[in-house]
Structure formats: C-alpha cells, structure tokens
C-alpha cells in the first residue's frame, strides 16, 4: 500500500511547478497551462484523500473543479484571442494599458 503522504507530496510538487511556471514565464498561453497544472495538482490530492478516507466528497469536488477549469479555459482563451486581435502579442509585458 502506497502511503497517503506520497500522493500529497506529488501534488505539492505539481502545484509548485505550476506556480514556478506562472511566475517566470511571460507567454500568456504557457501561463494558462501553468494554471491548469496547479488545478491538477490539487485534484491529485483530493482524489487521494477520497480514496484513503473512504469518502466520495473528494471526487465530487474534483468534478466541480474540472467544470470550473473548463469554463476558465474557454473564457481565458477568448480573452487571449481578443487581446491578440488588438495588440498582436501574447507577451504580457507588452500589455501595460491598465497601469494607472
């Protein structure tokens, strides 16, 4: 039997890689991929908890997280398309209109 802590450590590692990618890349598509990576890291730990605590609620939560991730991807990619149409760039450093 694999200990629960291993799954939690794996989930922390995937989350950490997602945070790293989000903070250090400036290509907006890869930043969105890093967001999905973070959501997947959380999903791993929820499914592992659901299995080890013998409770279905973890899997229900994963179901809702995947729903929200799909909605977020649709809206985010529409935003990227609108931005690209106006600026012809996917580099977030070139988008400084809202600096105030």
């Amino acid at each position: 039997m694999v200990p629960l802590n291993w799954y939690l450590a794996l989930s922390a590692v995937v989350f950490m890689i997602g945070v790293f990618g989000f903070l250090t890349r400036r290509n907006i598509i890869i930043m969105f991929l890093s967001l999905e990576l973070m959501l997947n890291g959380v999903n791993i730990s929820l499914v592992a908890f659901s299995h080890y605590l013998q409770d279905m609620r973890g899997q229900i939560l994963v179901f809702f997280i995947i729903t929200v991730a799909a909605a977020e991807a649709a809206i985010g990619l529409a935003l990227i398309l609108a931005l690209f149409r106006n600026k012809a760039a996917v580099h977030v450093d070139e988008m400084t209109e809202m600096k105030g």
Partner: protein
Amino acid sequence: MLPKLFFGYYATAITVLSLLVVTRKNPVHSVMWMLLMFFHIAGMYLFLNAEFIAAIQVIVYAGAILVLFLFVVLLLNLREELETRRFIGSWPAGFAISSAILVSILGALGSYVQGPSGKYTLGFLKEETPTKVLGKVLYTEYLFPFEIASLILLIAIIGAIVLAKRKLRS
C-alpha cells in the same frame, strides 16, 4: 512492492512532464507534453479507484480543454515569440517563492493525522460500483452545487462568444 513501483513510475513521469510543460519555448510543444501528463494523471486516478474521474480527465481535460488550447496556439502567429527569452530576468525570485510553497507544504505533511473514515469502503464500492455511488451522491447531496455548475458553464459559453466576436461596424 508493485504498487510502490507503479506509483514511482507515475510520480516521476508526472513531475518530468510538468517540468517540460513550463520550460519549453514553443507553446505547441508545451501543450503536447501537457496532453501526455493528463493521461498519466488519469492512470493515477484509476490506481486510486476513481474510474469516473479518470474518464472525465481524459474526455474533458485532454479531449476538450487541450484541443481548445491547441486551436488558439495554432490560430495565433507566434513566430516572433520563439525569438524572445524563455524566462523573465528575475526567475530566481519565482523559483524561491515556489520552493518556499513546496517546503511549507512538505513540512506540514509530517504532522497530518488522518480523520475518521467514511462509509464508502472498498467492499461497498465493489458491490455498488464506484460510478453508481458517485452519481447517487452527486444527484442527491450535491444537487444544488450541480445546478450552479451548469450556470457557470452557461456564463462561460456566453462570455466566450461575447469576448471572441468581432466588433460590428455600425
């Protein structure tokens, strides 16, 4: 021993593939590595007796979300994007912040005490089949959140159409 080997393979593959996702220069390559990583995560869900979640991981994440990403990447012309630098100049700061998150989570893992177990034991799931049990819980106990999820998807559809359509010249 065999489950640990199995877990070791999946954990190594998921870690290496997610590192590849955030370090590739070309977004198309990133999306492809992400696809492979999603399949590995689905395999790990099967290993945890979550067959329905594994199926929607493949269908929704790999089938819908990543294809959407691929469409957008291919629609945009990213030629000049390949010439720019991969990471921002202050990437050590990002690395320090993310490692601090990792260290704090790993440090907290040692003091985790498992709570009381629920009623969905392995024998119960084997008798009822996990997907049926999941459906029962979803449509009775979590019916209201399920309806809210449908509203979120409706808003996403409308928002995506409004954002992506061209302005009409009047």
